[in-house]
Each structure stands twice: as structure tokens, then as C-alpha cells.
């Protein structure tokens, strides 16, 4: 009885939805869309991907199913999507920043620009320079002075060589002409704990990870062109007069290269609608992530710029 009512009402809902969304009339997917997330379930990118997939399922006539295909810092999943049938049934949701940095650092079989069409950016994780509250450094200036006084004496933490935190941190050191010893920790939480515990002098930590730790950590500057919505008191490097390249981790939806234009258009519309939905915004802001939508073209432009910046930084690494 109840089940039947549910079926009827959901069918009616679907019909109403289909009628309300004429933009998707050209593409009639027969199968659910598989959204490959190239990381383990439960991580930051995964939770954002699951949130956008849920919202996209409402905007498309078929559900969007998240499939985790972890391995080799996201390369395994990306390769699988690049080789999948280009008919819209398989898309990739990943950290565009990591993908680009990976392709700069290593010789990959897949390329974010040659093998994929960028559908859109749904979020952007930014990193920031943080010190423990007990640190003598009140400002970036203090830190720069101390590092210049004794080159190579400071220790800093990041989440692994080649991660966007590492490359962004190195970008800061280059722009201020400093040398410091980097120590890799596994993941953002371990990095944050190392900074709070005073194991290192400073660390590059995602600004959203400040949430709940404002009494333990002092963020000095943000790697972004605008201040963070949730930590508006933290200045950007640009404001402080340092030209640090904008290396971040935009969460980007990609489709395989040969996906037909009408499918790409439908996917782009669905991503835009989903990124705009109240439920997606709420899930994002609960994790202190500012929703930041960019169209496929804009996102692609941003990634190309990041690729250039990263190449310059990486070429100076030993």
C-alpha cells in the first residue's frame, strides 16, 4: 500500500521533473552515470563527490553512482575513465589540482587536458600557512625574518611531496627566497597534529581544517586570490605583498575526450544546477568548504595556469 503510493508519487515526480527540464531533451541516457572517484571512500574529495552526485541525480533523468577506484594518487581511476566509453555513462570527479600536479611531476599515461573534457569545477580547497599558537611568529614577516637569519633551520610540514600543499608551500619559499626543510606527513590530519604539537615550525594546511582548532593554530596567510568565506580574518599572500602562485585543489568533473557535444552540454548543465542546489551548498558549508562553481572553460583555463605555475616551481626542486 505504502510502497505503491511511493512508486506512484515518485513516478509523478520524475515526470514533473522531466517536464521541467527541457534542456536535457537531446541526451537520453539509458544507464546510470558512473562517477569514478579515484580515491578511497571517506576522504575529502570523496565526500564532496558524493554530495554533488546526489544533487546531479536530481538534475538528470538517471542516477549518478559514485564508484571509488583508488590507486597511484588518483591515476588508476583517471586512466580507467580515459579508456571508458565516451558516451556520458562514465565521468571522473577528482582533485583537478592533484591531477595536474601529478602530470607535471611524473610521466603519466593520461593527461588532464589531452584525454579529458572539463565539465566544471564544483569546489576549491585552498591551503594556508599555519603555525602553532605557541609559535613566536605572529606574522609572515616574522617567519621570513627568522628564516633569512638562519637559512635551512626551519622545518615545515606538508601532506606529501607533489601534493598541492607541498607545491604551494614551495611556491611561497621561492617567492620569499627562503630555504627550509620540508617533512612529509600522511594526510591533512597528521600534518595538522604535527603543527599543533610543535614538531615543526610551520605547516601548509587546508584552510577548512582550521575549523575547531582556532585555539591551537594561527593561520598566517592563505594561498588564494580572495579571502576564505569561513576564515575572513586570514589575509592572502597577495595582500601581504608576496607573489605566491595560486596552487590549490579544485574539485573538477571531467568526461572522456570523445564524449559527444550534446552529452557534454547536458552534463555541464547538470553540474551547474547541482552546484547551485541548496542541499549541495549545505553539505559543503558543513565541512567549511565554500561552494565555488566554475564553468568547464573557466575551470580548464585555471588548471592550465596552475600547470604553468607548478612547472616553474617543480623545475627548481632538486
Amino acid at each position: 500500500m505504502k510502497r505503491r503510493q511511493f512508486l506512484i508519487s515518485s513516478a509523478a515526480f520524475t515526470v514533473a521533473l522531466a517536464g521541467a527540464l527541457p534542456a536535457f531533451a537531446e541526451w537520453k541516457p539509458k544507464r546510470p552515470v558512473n562517477a569514478i572517484v579515484p580515491y578511497d571512500a571517506g576522504g575529502g574529495t570523496d565526500s564532496i563527490a558524493r554530495a554533488i552526485a546526489a544533487s546531479m541525480s536530481e538534475a538528470l533523468p538517471v542516477p549518478v553512482v559514485v564508484v571509488n577506484k583508488p590507486g597511484a594518487s588518483g591515476v588508476v581511476g583517471a586512466t580507467a575513465v580515459a579508456n571508458a566509453k565516451a558516451d556520458g555513462s562514465t565521468i571522473l570527479i577528482t582533485s583537478g589540482g592533484s591531477f595536474v600536479l601529478n602530470s607535471v611531476m611524473k610521466d603519466l599515461e593520461v593527461d588532464p587536458f589531452d584525454d579529458f573534457i572539463t565539465i566544471g569545477q564544483i569546489g576549491d580547497l585552498t591551503t594556508s600557512l599555519m603555525v602553532p599558537v605557541s609559535s613566536p611568529f605572529q606574522t609572515i614577516d616574522d617567519l621570513v625574518k627568522a628564516a633569512k637569519a638562519a637559512p635551512g633551520s626551519l622545518r615545515w610540514a606538508h601532506t606529501g611531496r607533489g601534493s598541492f600543499h607541498h607545491v604551494a608551500g614551495q611556491g611561497f619559499l621561492n617567492s620569499a627566497e627562503l630555504s627550509a626543510v620540508d617533512v612529509a606527513f600522511k594526510g591533512g590530519s597528521a600534518t595538522r597534529a604535527a603543527v599543533i604539537g610543535g614538531q615543526v615550525d610551520f605547516g601548509m594546511i587546508g584552510i577548512q581544517q582550521l575549523s575547531g582548532f582556532t585555539d591551537q593554530l594561527r593561520p598566517l596567510a592563505l594561498v588564494s586570490n580572495e579571502r576564505d568565506m569561513f576564515s575572513p580574518d586570514v589575509p592572502t599572500f597577495e595582500e601581504l605583498g608576496l607573489n605566491v602562485p595560486l596552487i590549490s585543489s579544485p574539485i573538477v568533473v571531467f568526461a572522456p575526450k570523445d564524449t559527444p557535444d550534446d552529452v557534454v552540454a547536458a552534463l555541464q548543465d547538470a553540474v551547474k544546477t547541482a552546484a547551485d542546489s541548496a542541499s549541495f551548498k549545505e553539505l559543503m558549508s558543513n565541512g567549511n568548504n565554500a561552494p565555488s562553481y566554475l564553468s568547464g572553460a573557466d575551470a580548464s583555463q585555471k588548471l592550465l595556469q596552475m600547470q604553468d605555475d607548478a612547472r616553474a616551481i617543480v623545475s627548481k626542486l632538486n
Binding site: 571517506g42 612529509a184 590530519s189
Partner: protein
Amino acid sequence: MDIFVGLATVLTDPVILAWIFGAAVIGMIVGAIPGLTASAAIAMLVPLTYYMDPLAALAFLYVIGKSGRYGGSIAAILFNTPGTAASAATQIDGYPLAKKGQASKAMKVATISSVIGDFFGEFVLIIGVAWIAAIALHLGPPELFSIYLAAFVVIGSVIGKSVLKGLASAALGVLIKMAGLDPVTGGERFTFGQVELTDGLSLVPLMIGIFVLAEVFEQLAKRSAPPEITEEPDDQASRDRNRLTWDEFRPCLPHILRSSVIGTVIGMLPGLGSTIAAFVAYGEGKRSAKNPEEWGKGALEGVAAPEAANNAVSGPSMAPLLTLGIPGSTIGAILVGVFMIHGIKIGPTLFVTSRELIYSLFACGLIGIVFYGLVGYFGAANVGRFITRIPVNILYPVIMLTAVISAYVSRGSLFDVGVMILFGFIGWGMKRFDFNPAAFVISFVLAGGAEEAFRQSLRLSDSGILIFITRPIALAFLLIGIAVVIYRVRSLRAKPEAPSLKDA
């Protein structure tokens, strides 16, 4: 006193009780199925929790984690397959017990030990959460490395008959673990250009290969010999054999208590986890046992020790998680995400902002332990009697099939199936030539974290080794390690042939 308020809240809410009960059962099932880990199940269930009340959502996942750690012992005892990595130590004695037709008895001991260990850890958490968090914060890479080193030494006593072959097995485990990305430079090591190898080999397929496939091959090799798992001729005899008496259980008690302490301490330390706790408890239990010669051949104490320890980890590991945001396990990492989704900010202020919720969550943990204990004692223990009646020519093909599926599903990768088969042959070879598969797996588990901590320490100290001596906590654990070595050398000299030769 907050815990009593929490208990009152939870006990009067039938909906939450239902979620906890569901979690206890689901956790046991996913824990018992090798390869289907509790963390994978939790990750799949996370979207469901978006729509749940925060307490119900957190309690559901927290209890799955607890009962999953226990559930792993079921497969370890019955099939010589650790259902979760944390139960790999349980099979050393659990499977020989099953072969003797005492699977139900072994499972009863596993259940009681898990419940006691889990309660112990949970009480320590409730009483000392703030204190545990303060300790965890002071553990940097040098301290962690010293702890890893002490763990290596303590676990050394599982090394069997030949010290040389045991050490060789351990060295092989370390070597295999080196494949993948260098933790400091991020460069590739031993990957031979294979994309799949850049993450290193994963534990699940490797362990299934070494333990399960090796056992299947062993059975194939002696097909003509009479099967070891026999059909039960007499129900009454089987029932008698599986009745757990107080006289049998009493010697387990000191081991359960010691292991509960070991598990609790390891749970407080960020990043070590239940697998290491179980092996350390097994090693220490065997070292201090009155009957070390029986360990490895089906000693009930050998089941009790690791099972108490791996569950004792569960509670205390919540302290660094809740107050510092350091997840001790994959399940912990997922829980952090769930807190965020519900807009609860993890961190030192959590106990001010959400005190009631947190103590209610701890109360759910206590109730969850009772639930999985009851289900396990009266339910799972009876499964054992049924399984031992399945003839080998059906049982082993089924195990083989389960092994292949398990290796595949954990990452959806055929490469992992290949890894499992390869290590099946390696494990079989190791058994035939008296090498030590357990020592191999343990060093594989420990080597990654130990190397990372060691190299981080050297980055911090400009490659100076003194960093391990000038930091007091690091020094203390180094001394513990040295003391254990001295003790063992002395006891070997005192009775030159007793435990070292009769060891399994």
C-alpha cells in the same frame, strides 16, 4: 557523571537502540567476511547517515567499527582467514582449535575476550579522554619510531622454531613493503613502471594469499591423506568438546587483562591501530605464558590475548580522533567526515560545544558491546559446529572462491587477485620450508609506519640519530625494547631448549 546521563538518554530511545543492534549485527557480518572490511561497509552507508539524527548516525558507525573488529575472529577461527587484518593474530591458535573440533569453544573465548577488552578500553576513554589527548599530542615522529621498534621486539617472540628463518621472513616482509612511493621524497621504489605498484601492495590480498590460499594449496597437496576437518560423528561428543568450563577459562583471564591494557595503550597512540595491538598482545602473552609450548597449537589463551587487545583499541582511539582530529583507522577517518556533515566541529572545543552528544555516543558504545557480545556468544559460536560438518571437498573450493572475490572487491582490482595468487604460492612455500608467514605479515604491517617515522625524525634532526635519545618518551620506549631483548636472551640461556625449540 555525564556518562550516566548519556546512558539514560540512549536506553530510553528505542530508535537509537535499534540502530545500535543493527550495527552490531552488520559489523559482525562484514567483519567475518574477508575482504569486505568494516571501513568499506561504513563508507557505503555514509550517504544514508546524511538523513539520520547525528547521534544515531555516529552510534551506528561507531558500533559497526567495534563489532567488525570482533567479527574478524569468526573467519580467523573457522577458515584460517582473518576477516579483518586485526584478527590475523587470532588465527594462529584459533584455527588449530577449529581443527580439533573446538571451533565453538574458541569463538566463545574470542567473544568474551573481545567484550572484556572493549569494555576496558571504553571505560578508560570515558574516564581519561582529556588526558589521553594530551599524551597523543606530544608524540612526534621520534616517539612513534621508538614505539614501533619496541613493538617489533615484543612481537619477535612469535618467531618460530628457527630464529634465522624467522628473521629472514621478517626481512622479506620489510622488503616487500618498500615497494611503492618513498614516504619522504615521493619517488617511486621497486615499481618497475607498474602504475598499480605505486601504492605498494595492499595488505588484504597479500594476507589472504599468505594465509588462506596457502592453506588451500596445502590441502590440495595432501589430497590423498585423510581430511583434517572431519564430519562430526556424534553430536553429544561435539557439544561436550565445545563446552567452555571455568577451569579452561580461568587461565585466559590474566591474558585478557594484560592484553586489554596493551590494546588500550596502543589505541591512545595515533596511527598504530588494532592489527599491531593484536600482534603485540599475542607476542607478549606468549612470552609470559605458563604454557608457551602450547601456543600456536590451539591454546585458548592464544585466542584470548589478541582478541581482547584488538577490541580494547576501539575506545581509546576515539580520544585523539575527537580532540585532535587524528583518525587512528579508516573507520575513524570516515567518522570525522560524518561529524563534519552534521556540522559538529571536531577539536579541543568539542567537549564544550557537544558534551552531551559525545557522552551519549560513548554510552552507545557500551550498549553496542553488550549487543555484539550476546549475539556472538549465542549466535556465532553455533555457526562453528555447523561449519565443521561441511566436507573438505566442498569447504575448500568455497574458501578458494571467497578468497578470490575478497581480494577483488576491496579495491575492485584484478591486479590484487594476481597479488593474492602470487602470495598464495609464497605462503605455501614458506610453510613447507619452515619459514614464518606470521612474522612476514607482521613486519609488512609495521614496516611502513616505522620507516615513515624514522625518516621524518631524521628530517627533523638534520640526520642526527640523537633525536631518539634526547626526547624522553622516545628514550623510554627504546629502553623498553632493549629490556625485552635482554630478558629474552637471558631466558633462552637459562633453559636453552625449552620454548625456542618447541615453538610452533
